[in-house]
Amino acid sequence: MIWERVLIILLLGLVGTGAYTAFKQLHLRRVNGRQPAAAASGQPTLLYFRSEACAACPTQSRYLAQVMGSGEGGEGNGRFTLQQIDVDANPDQARQYGIMTLPTTMLLDAAGKVREINYGLTPPHKLQQQLKTIGAGN
């Protein structure tokens, strides 16, 4: 009985993780297939989708300020550019990138290809790690 239930938990966990991974890969493929306009800036870009009504966005903004080092502005020590997108003011851009939850952060490499998507609040260490993988870390 116990092992049967443990197996159900493990199976549900696996199915959930698998579905999430597949969904994220599909989202990445769709966004890259659309070739968003803001993409190819010749420098890695961190896209940050937010809105005034988003509860977790102020915390995400502070996390991003930590990642940026200086705290404000669009320069990440010259290694990458931070682009903030207010989804209420730019609904078309939000649709283009398939934004479903706020905050969402996306990392684009120098060629404009979306390499990472983070749904929800993402801590600075995770963003820094992802930036390293696209050659924009400290």
Binding site: M1, I2, R5, V6, I8, I9, E52, A53, C54, A55, A56, C57, P58, T59, S61, R62, T101, Y119, G120, L121, T122, P123
Partner: protein
């Protein structure tokens, strides 16, 4: 007014809720579900008595096992989220005791999924509901999202 929330305390709380509810399902223990629900509701009514958060404050944090992550945020939506979860767990207990295991475990599973969303993806469904109620001017939901500093 300076408003601070320790994200690590919230995450430990969520991890305990998920872990204990999954254990309760594995052991088919209604009483463990009731225990989790009681801790959640008591922690909502009297935050200083939240057992899981006290475990973090008095055991995990001093031992250096979990580092504090204090951010500026409203604590009320998180408390509302926990209270809402506690009510759902209480309903799960009632269903389990009434001989409706499918309904009971489905409700407990819903709390596990919502706590996991918060723990792994940073999406607090209860906070979202709180801020929506605040936007509609519902009495008692007085705090709007904090402005960017």
């Amino acid at each position: 007014m300076d408003r601070k929330v320790d994200q690590s305390a919230l995450k430990v709380n969520q991890a305990f809720i998920i872990g204990l509810l999954l254990l309760a399902y594995a052991l088919d223990s209604v009483w463990l579900v009731a225990f989790v629900g009681a801790v959640m509701l008591l922690g909502t009514a009297v935050p200083s008595l939240s057992l899981f958060k006290r475990t973090y404050q008095h055991l995990l944090k001093p031992a250096g096992l979990v580092k504090p992550d204090i951010v500026t945020d409203n604590p009320e939506p998180h408390r509302f989220a926990q209270g809402f979860g506690g009510v759902v767990v209480a309903l799960a207990v009632i269903a389990l005791l009434a001989g409706q295991p499918l309904v009971g475990w489905a409700l407990a599973g819903l709390v596990v999924v919502l706590a996991a969303l918060n723990l792994f993806l940073g999406f607090c469904a209860g906070c979202f509901v709180y801020y929506q109620l605040n936007r509609f001017g519902v009495p008692g939901f007085n705090h709007s999202p904090l402005a960017k500093s």
